[in-house]
Every structure is written in C-alpha cells, then in structure tokens.
C-alpha cells in the first residue's frame, strides 16, 4: 500500500448561518412589491415591465423601485424603507 500523508483543508464554508426562514406570500393581490434595480443594462426595463404585469395580472397594489448606483451597495435607509413597506422585494443579481 502506498504511503499516505495528511493535508489540511484550505477551503472555508460560508460563515453566515441562515438568518431567517423565508416567508412565502399567500397570494399577490393587494400586496406591495419592491424592486431593487442593480443598474445592469436593461434591468430597469424589466422592472418596469414586471411591475406593470404584476399589477395588471396578479392584482399587486403597489410597486416600489430603487435603482442602485453601479456597484455601490444599497444604503441602510432604503433597505429599512423597503423592509417596512414591502411584502416582497425582488432584486437583480449579476448581468
């Protein structure tokens, strides 16, 4: 049998434990949906179109929109505002 050696694992797993269970909505009618636009090309148009469709087809009462500035993370004030006013928030991720 070939000789063996021990090596130490160089990789780390994520350190953030799940912070809360996701709460599914019991339907969209009358709800407020927020969009955080990541400012990637065309996402603002997708936000506009999805917002209209969610209102027209699913009875969403209100759509809130916030557009990020490039790669700068969204500020705490906007996050707090969306958390207080929205039943669900949809973000853009990646290109």
């Amino acid at each position: 049998m070939a000789a063996s050696m021990l090596v130490l694992d160089p990789a780390a797993r994520p350190s953030n434990a799940p912070v809360q269970a996701l709460r599914a909505l019991d339907g969209l009618a009358g709800k407020t949906v927020g969009f955080i636009d990541n400012a990637k090309l065309n996402f603002n148009h997708l936000v506009d179109d999805l917002g209209e469709l969610l209102v027209g087809k699913y009875g969403v009462a209100q759509v809130l929109k916030h557009r990020k500035t490039g790669q700068v993370p969204v500020g705490e004030a906007v996050l707090q505002d969306f958390a207080a006013r929205c039943d669900a928030v949809i973000t853009g991720s990646g290109d």
Binding site: A2, A3, S4, M5, L6, V7, L8, D9, P10, A11, A12, R13, P14, S15, N16, A17, P18, V19, A21, L22, A24, L25, D26, G27, L28, V33, A39, K40, L41, N42, F43, H45, L46, D49, L50, L53, L54, K57, Y58, R67, T69, G70, Q71, V72, A88, V89, I90, T91, G92, S93, G94, D95
Partner: protein
C-alpha cells in the same frame, strides 16, 4: 427573491447561500440579457412574470452548510505523492491550475510560528462566500502557494485589507471584469523578504512576489469562494489573477513612499491592496514633465474605461526615470495627480450610448446631469489617482485601470 440571467444563476445561488438565505427563490431570464432590444425585454417579462408570481408564493426549504466561526481545518489523508495531491486539488476545486505544495500539518505549523496570533483567530470573512479566514486557513493557502513561513504576517494584513468595506471585495470577486488583487509592499519588511521592487517587479523571478500574490488568489477562491466559472464571473480574466505583487522602489522614489503618503511612519511595513484590471505599458522617451504628463493623461483616456464610468481609482506605476523627470521640475506627487486629473478628460461623446447612460447614472451625484458635450474627469478628485514608483531602468511606466467602486486599502503588517 432575485432575478438572474441564465449565466449568473450560480453566482446568485452562491450569494444567497453566503448571505444566509439558501432558499432564496431565483427567477431566470435568458442570457445575454443586457444587449436585448426594448421589445425583447417586454417579451421576456411576459414570459417570466408567472414564474416570479409563483416563486413569491412558494415555500422552499434548502440546507445551508455553514461552519462554526474559527473552526480548525480538517485533515485529509491522501497518497504521499505530489501528482495525486494535485489531482485532489483539481477535483475539489482548490487549485489555481498550477502545481501546489501539500499543506501538511507540519508545514502549516512551521508557518504559524511566524505570527503571535492564534491559529483559530478570525482575521476576516472573505466575500463573496463570506468564508472565515482564520490565521490557520490563511497559512494553509500560503503553504500551497509556496510561501516561506515568514510571509504569513503579510497575508494576514492583506486578508484584513481586502475585507475592508472600502475595498468592495464583492465587486472584485464576482465581476465580469478581469479584476485582480494587486499587493503592494512598503517599508523595511519588503527588503527583508526580498520582495522585488526593481526590474521585472511584476514579472517572473522573485519567489516572494510570485508566491505572495499567488497565495492571495488562493485565499480569494478557497476562502472567499471566487472560483473561476462559478462565482468568479470574469469574461476573460487576466494573468495577474495568478499572482500580482510587488514592492515600491523606495530607494529610487524621489517622493514620500506610498505608506508615508497614507499616514504611516517610514519604518512601518505595510501592504496595500488594489483592485487592478491589468497593466498597460506606456513607453515614452519624453524628457520634460509637461510632455510626459500629457502623454500619460492621454493614454489613461479611452472610452471603454471603467474609471470614467464609475469615477474609479486609476493607478500609475511610474518608472524611476519618469518619476525623476517629474520631480526635478519641482512637482510633488500631489502636483502630478492634479495635472493628470486635469488633463485626463474624456469627451462624453466618445462613449457608446449605453456607456453614456451608465456614466450619467453612476456619476450623477458627483457631476450632476451630464450631456454628450461634457468633458468627464477620470475620477472625482485628484487624490483618487494612485501613484507608485517601481521598476528598474527604462522609459516605461504603467497605467493600471481599476475595477469600479473600489478603493485601495493599506494595512500595517504586524
């Protein structure tokens, strides 16, 4: 929930897991997305709205493997054979594609003797996966990269630096840009460790430069989770993502060195991290300051530059000869920055229509409403231009464009 194009779902899923929301619903739109016409976006919205509605109302449960903060690294038994070890690295996605040194407990222990910090001490959480960079785990990756044990304190300081909020590591690790972490050493330790600051300081031949930069890359991917093709979404990448490290040539620098400029004492040793998109050689035999600055500013001014879109932090590596020309005419480093900032102006009309839109949005807070007739400064103020003096004899300086919304960070090496 989040919306990703098909090419970015791995990144979206990885980010959700890293941030503690492993069950985050993801709606997928076709890729490429950004180049679609307005009508195509309407069609895509109509196609995916039902998915969006369903996902918002659907309960999903997913496991999230996490690890106790400060946990010691597990030991793995492998055949005592270099080829077998390197195959294991590839299988487990722990490799940068180059042969590595096995991080045996003995080698890691030898490295740990070069810091007073405990092996399980947490140095930082490294984005985008927010893996815990303990002192031990930094040492493991340093061993794999071929670092000598005495290099460890440099990497501990560098890990702290890349996790600083100003560095915006997520913007470097997960971007389509070819963003690399460039390590710059200043102070007496750079000489003690033989970090090259002269000829070929960014080229081959210096063990410290090669292995320190490589260790940073391994830390980024093995602890930070920025695996090429997974959460690292670089379109092409660049050779600097294998290793990118040098020292400042303080002996040939006519001005105060970088770390002194940033408030550290000259006898203190520091590491500075920069989010670098590459190196752009500028070969000019200009013999007077005005001519030299004009040529450098002109080279820095091009329409596909992230610096102009985001008001970034463009860097210059001035050769000692070029630095001497500027200094002998009485220019301070701040004077050089101001001259370059005033001259590196891009007519907004040179930008593509979409890039003009990005610039207008991205720099509105700084510049107000800009028009196609505007002359755009390369960044928001002269002080955001970084200057390093490095290299050997020759008429070559280097422009280093920056990844957007990233600010370099300097930390003392302890």
């Amino acid at each position: 929930m989040t919306v990703c194009s098909a090419a970015f779902t791995g990144l979206g899923r990885g980010q959700a897991r890293a941030l503690g929301f492993p069950a985050l619903p993801i709606a997928v739109v076709p890729h490429p997305f950004g180049i679609r016409t307005r009508d195509e976006i309407r069609t895509i919205a109509a196609q995916c709205v039902d998915d969006v509605a369903r996902l918002l109302c659907e309960t999903v449960v997913a496991d999230a493997p996490t690890e106790a903060v400060g946990a010691r690294a597990a030991a793995i038994e492998v055949a005592d054979d270099l080829e077998a070890f390197n195959r294991l690295l590839l299988q487990r996605h722990w490799s940068d594609g180059l042969p590595a040194i096995p991080p045996t407990p003995e080698r890691v222990e030898r490295m740990l003797r070069h810091t007073h910090r405990a092996p399980d001490e947490v140095v930082a959480a490294i984005a985008p996966a927010f893996g815990v960079a303990t002192v031990e785990r930094i040492a493991i990756n340093a061993v794999m990269a071929g670092c000598y044990p005495e290099y460890l304190p440099v990497l501990i300081a560098a890990a702290e630096a890349i996790a600083a909020p100003d560095f915006n590591l997520r913007g470097i690790q997960a971007t389509t840009n070819p963003a690399a972490v460039w390590l710059i050493l200043n102070g007496p330790l750079a000489k003690q460790l033989d970090v090259n600051s002269g000829g070929n300081c960014l080229g081959p031949g210096a063990w410290a430069n090669a292995t320190l930069g490589r260790a940073m890359r391994l830390i980024q991917q093995n602890i930070g989770g920025a695996l090429a093709g997974d959460m690292d979404r670089a379109t092409q990448g660049q050779p600097g993502k294998y290793t990118f490290c040098c020292a400042e040539n303080e002996d040939a620098n006519p001005w105060e060195p970088l770390h002194v400029e940033r408030g550290f004492a000259r006898e203190v040793s520091t590491v500075t991290v920069v989010g670098a998109l590459g190196t752009w050689n500028m070969n000019t035999h200009a013999k007077d300051a005005a001519d030299l600055l004009r040529v450098i500013a002109d080279t820095m001014t091009f329409p596909a530059s992230s610096d102009f879109v985001y008001a970034g932090e463009p860097w210059l590596i001035l050769s000692p000869e070029h630095a001497h020309i500027l200094h002998r005419e009485g220019l301070s480093k701040a004077d050089v920055k101001r001259c370059l900032w005033e001259q590196a102006r891009l007519p907004a009309q040179r930008l593509s229509a979409k890039d003009f839109d990005r610039t207008r949005t991205g720099r509105r807070a700084e510049l107000g409403e800009i028009t196609r007739a505007a002359l755009l400064p390369i960044t928001s103020k002269p002080g955001h231009i970084g200057i390093l003096v490095a290299g050997g004899p020759g008429t070559h300086s280097v422009y280093v464009p920056m990844s957007g919304h990233v600010r370099s960070v300097t930390r003392q090496i302890i």
